[in-house]
């Protein structure tokens, strides 16, 4: 029993250990890496990605997958920007209503995504992939390919105003992380994600409305994508069709690196935090130590494989597909 426990403990903390080793490694290579300024930089790049990754974490815990985040993020960003500008263009006016509106839009897109998946009985991989096209397409339709600038100083304060050297967006991200943690551990919906991921047919036989849990899961993920969209807009001050680009692979990679299993039932939002930080520390560290740009993708790939090998418990399943 003793050895089993240590193994479990090791598996549980392995992602964090990997993160710490990475930080120490980059700090040893380049002392400037280990500075508050640089950590703030990592925080800024991590915040939007963390929100998107948390959204998809819930889906992956259910044993499904969501590839629609790029479309959803773009739609939310663009709708937010239009509404914000139309209603006054500054948070000091009624334009603040654009913030909850964006979350609502995220929820609606997520709901639609879940409905297509559950009601048309299309596997989530295909349904969400196609919905991602629709989302990106819809954002393109709204903008006609233009960029929308959001230049309100109050809103940009997400990036420019700093408390204790970290911009507000980092605190916003932490707040939503705590909300996600709360949902995961203290609400029926959050626990039901684990039930569905652990054994969908069994959960159904126990009287759980699995389809409802799935649809709500995708809706919830949509809300978090919307938060990610707001932070992404806050970070660069621009909303466009491409706002959502690159979120898909990065977020799913982060979730897996953090130790949440793609087959469902294992993991959680703290794992995702660690996973997002691992990916962003690698990205930032490669720049800081001056690795040439063209090798960075390859090094990231190799390090991600190493991180997954080291940090996730893959012994519990026989087959990895």
């Amino acid at each position: 029993m003793g050895s089993v426990l240590t193994r479990d403990v090791l598996v549980k903390w392995a992602p964090l250990l990997v993160l710490i080793v990475l930080i120490l490694f980059f700090a040893a290579m380049e002392p400037r890496f280990f500075s508050v300024r640089n950590f703030a930089r990592i925080g800024i790049s991590s915040a939007p990605a963390l929100m998107v990754a948390i959204g998809v974490t819930f889906i992956i815990i259910m044993g499904s997958i969501d590839l629609s985040m790029e479309g959803t993020v773009s739609v939310c960003a663009v709708v937010f920007a239009f509404a914000f500008i139309a209603m006054g263009g500054t948070l000091a006016s009624f334009a603040w209503l654009a913030l909850p509106l964006a979350l609502l839009v995220g929820a609606a897109v997520g709901l639609l995504n879940g409905l297509v998946h559950v009601k048309l009985k299309i596997p989530s991989f295909m349904a969400s992939l196609a919905m991602g096209f629709v989302g990106t397409g819809f954002a393109l339709l709204l903008t006609g390919g233009d960029r929308i600038r959001v230049e309100d100083d109050l809103f940009r304060g997400l990036l420019t105003t700093r408390w204790f050297n970290f911009p507000i967006m980092c605190y916003v991200a932490v707040a939503f992380l705590l909300i996600a943690w709360f949902i995961q551990t203290r609400t029926t919906l959050g626990r039901n994600f684990y039930a569905v991921g652990g054994g969908e047919d069994l959960a159904h036989a126990s009287g759980l409305n699995v389809n409802k849990v799935r649809i709500l899961g995708f809706t919830l993920a949509g809300v978090f994508y919307a938060v990610g969209a707001l932070l992404a807009v806050g970070r660069i001050g621009i909303a466009e069709t491409a706002t959502g680009s690159n979120f898909m692979f990065v977020s799913i990679t982060s979730v897996v690196v953090g130790g949440t299993a793609l087959w469902g039932g294992i993991g959680g939002v703290w794992n995702t935090l660690i996973g997002v930080l691992i990916v962003n520390v690698i990205n930032n560290g490669m720049v800081v130590i001056g690795l040439p740009g063209y090798v960075q993708d390859g090094v990231l790939g190799v390090l991600v494989i190493a991180a997954v090998v080291l940090s996730t418990d893959r012994k519990s399943v026989t087959f990895v597909k």
Partner: protein, 313 residues
């Protein structure tokens, strides 16, 4: 009962229906010359999708296909002056090796293929950037025509790409249905534990499946490079998701063991028809992607055989 019988045939029925709809809207679409041009145009995507079929057939996925194709365009352009026709061999070999590495990481290091192929894709992208010096390269026109001109010519009014595509379908179809490798792939996709208990070397088979996927991605890249007479690390961008879509729409679900290369042929053609139909229905450029997504959902909803999926995840 009768609907049960129709189900396996839904992909090509969907294809015919789509062709008929576009044809009724604009008879020009049905002109042989137009159909042939459309088919020739889709061949590189099709070859990539063929490779992807092998990865999906065993229940995995290959997200490195696009990067491998990108890298191959660079490799082809760089090695053409050095090796001539041998450049093709270098390309194919490099694709094969990268695919095998993905397979190794997936089966031996137990990293899900979603992550492992993505990561190996990153490696391929870096290699492409390094080899190209991060700029677009161009082939010497004369040298290209002399070595690979046969790839892009046409005979009897039919572009050679179509022959290449047809040849590869035949080869992969033979591989899938007539060889021990194909049979083993099916067993691994449909029931991996039983394949292990039958004494098959499952790890080797899976590695080979990813290697074939990489090889065909490289062939797609080579063809692309010859067509566009050059190479760059981003030349084949935008191909990955359509290739996956082509496989899925054709009726090879992500659960493995079902479908195959013929399904992918149909799936690719469905994607091609949907895309070119935008022109005939005069869909505004900004609307095209959204319409594509919507039609795609409809097509997938129609074509997938849900009886083969135990649980819809």
């Amino acid at each position: 009962m009768s609907f049960e019988r129709i189900k396996p045939h839904l992909p090509w029925i969907t294809l015919l229906a789509l062709v008929a709809i576009v044809g009724i809207a604009d008879a020009n679409f049905l002109r042989p010359a137009n159909l042939i041009a459309m088919a020739a145009d889709i061949v590189p995507l099709f070859i990539m999708a063929l490779g992807m079929t092998f990865a999906i057939y065993i229940g995995g996925i290959d997200l490195s296909a696009q990067s491998v194709a990108n890298m191959t365009t660079v490799v082809a352009t760089v090695t053409l002056p050095l090796f001539g026709v041998g450049a093709a061999l270098v390309c194919i070999l490099s694709g094969f090796v990268l695919g095998a590495v993905s397979g190794y990481v997936t089966t031996k290091l137990l990293v899900p293929s979603f992550i492992s192929t993505l990561a190996i894709g990153g490696v391929a992208f870096s290699a492409a950037q390094y080899l190209s010096g991060q700029r677009a390269l161009f082939m010497d026109a004369e040298l290209r025509d002399a070595t690979f001109g046969w790839m892009t010519g046409s005979s009897f009014g039919i572009p050679h790409e179509i022959f290449i595509g047809a040849f590869l379908v035949l080869v992969t179809w033979f591989l899938q249905t007539r060889t021990t490798f194909g049979r083993a792939l099916k067993a691994v996709g449909a029931g991996e534990p039983a394949a292990v208990a039958a004494g098959l070397d499952v790890a080797k088979i899976k590695i080979m499946a990813f290697a074939v996927s990489g090889l065909l991605a490289a062939v797609a890249g080579l063809l692309f490079s010859v067509k566009l007479s050059g190479g760059s690390p981003t030349l084949a961008n935008g191909f990955l998701l359509p290739a996956i879509v082509a496989v899925l729409v054709g009726g090879t679900p992500l659960t493995g063991g079902v479908g195959g290369v013929i399904n992918t042929l149909i799936g690719t053609l469905i994607v091609a028809v949907i895309r070119s139909s935008m022109l005939y229905f005069e869909v505004d450029a900004t609307k095209q992607q959204m319409v594509f997504g919507l039609v795609l959902i409809a097509a997938i909803a129609l074509t997938i055989d849900r009886t083969k999926l135990r649980i819809v995840k």
